[in-house]
């Protein structure tokens, strides 16, 4: 099992660890772990494109949370504008919908991870945590449906924080 999948499974485990009254520690770690599952999925997919296997882990360290969030929120904005134009049903729209789910899940998960790790005043509930984990799971499925598409690969490059290939900025 890939590391990202292991993290997602662990997030599920933590969220359901206590059957009746979930501990805040379990819920917080579940939220944080779900975010890192998606984070590692995307960076591992990006670094797979690096031909020299021995440098992929080094390349993975180049990714920054803030830059990835900016790229994802920008992508959500672009795709919202695209959907607003009522595009015709077809493969292009399907890919866009999947990419939207991935980008949206990432921005939401990252903010929640920050709150889960640092904001002690916040009370977490199982519903909030399960909604987060399911959104990340859904993003995993969406990503796997489009990972070989050119727009998906361009999206991965944008996560470095620079220009997305093929985009005027």
């Amino acid at each position: 099992m890939a590391f990202a999948d292991e993290l997602l499974e662990q997030a599920q485990h933590l969220a359901n660890r206590e059957r009746k009254e979930p501990r805040q520690a379990s819920l917080r770690r579940a939220v944080s772990t779900a975010y890192y599952a998606l984070f590692h999925l995307l960076i591992s997919e990006a670094t797979l494109n690096w031909k020299r296997v021995e440098y992929r882990d080094v390349l993975a360290r180049v990714f920054e949370h803030g830059k990835m969030k900016s790229a994802c929120s920008k992508k959500v904005g672009e795709l919202n504008a695209y959907f607003k134009g009522n595009p015709q049903a077809g493969p292009e729209l399907t890919v866009a919908q999947h990419l939207y789910k991935v980008s949206k899940a990432f921005t939401q998960a990252q903010e929640k991870r920050h709150a889960a790790d640092y904001d002690n005043s916040r009370v977490w509930t199982r519903t909030a945590v399960m909604a987060e984990i399911e959104s990340v799971e859904n993003a995993f499925e969406s990503w796997r449906a489009i990972r070989n598409e050119s727009v998906a690969q361009a999206f991965l490059v944008s996560l470095f924080g620079g220009k997305e290939p093929g985009k005027e900025q």
């Binding site: 929120s73 904005g77 919202n80 009370v123 909030a128 959104s135």
Partner: protein, 146 residues
């Protein structure tokens, strides 16, 4: 009195100027530029400058969300990277919070709010969504969610 009136007019003019400037920035970029780190423009999102208009827009949308949503609360603030944001707290019915419906309901609700409100494009606020079931809130009695 005159001084107060003059001050109010000045503040209003400044807000209008910033609002216009803000809209121009949007038109230039297509989406909100959240990385304005220079000192030339004081960036005030429309959602903060025109809070009552934002409240009215959200009120209209909440009415369309259906019986899965008991109510919606929200707070304006900044996310961890310092971007202006709106944090929605959405109280779901217990039925909508069940495992077999949760993903479908939360995605529908957040998408419906984003498409109707256009929080980034129209109000300069990144939206974040948090959910809780009615029975969880009944047990916690948290004021922010009441």
């Amino acid at each position: 009195m005159d001084t107060d009136s003059h001050r109010s007019r000045t503040v209003l003019s400044l807000c209008n100027y910033l609002h216009l400037r803000f809209r121009v920035l949007f038109r230039c970029n297509g989406t909100a530029d959240h990385n304005l780190s220079d000192n030339r423009v004081v960036y005030i999102p429309r959602g903060i400058a025109q809070r009552s208009a934002l409240d009215a827009a959200i009120h209209d949308i909440v009415g369309t969300l259906g019986p899965d949503v008991i109510h919606v609360r929200y707070t304006l603030g900044q996310d961890w990277t310092g971007d202006d944001a709106i944090f929605f707290r959405i109280l779901l019915s217990d039925r909508a919070s069940k495992r077999d419906r949760l993903l479908r309901v939360t995605q529908r609700v957040s998408d419906q709010i984003v498409r109707a409100l256009e929080p980034v494009e129209q109000w300069g606020l990144l939206p974040y969504f948090d959910y809780r079931s009615q029975s969880e809130q009944a047990a916690l009695k948290e004021e922010a969610w009441a």
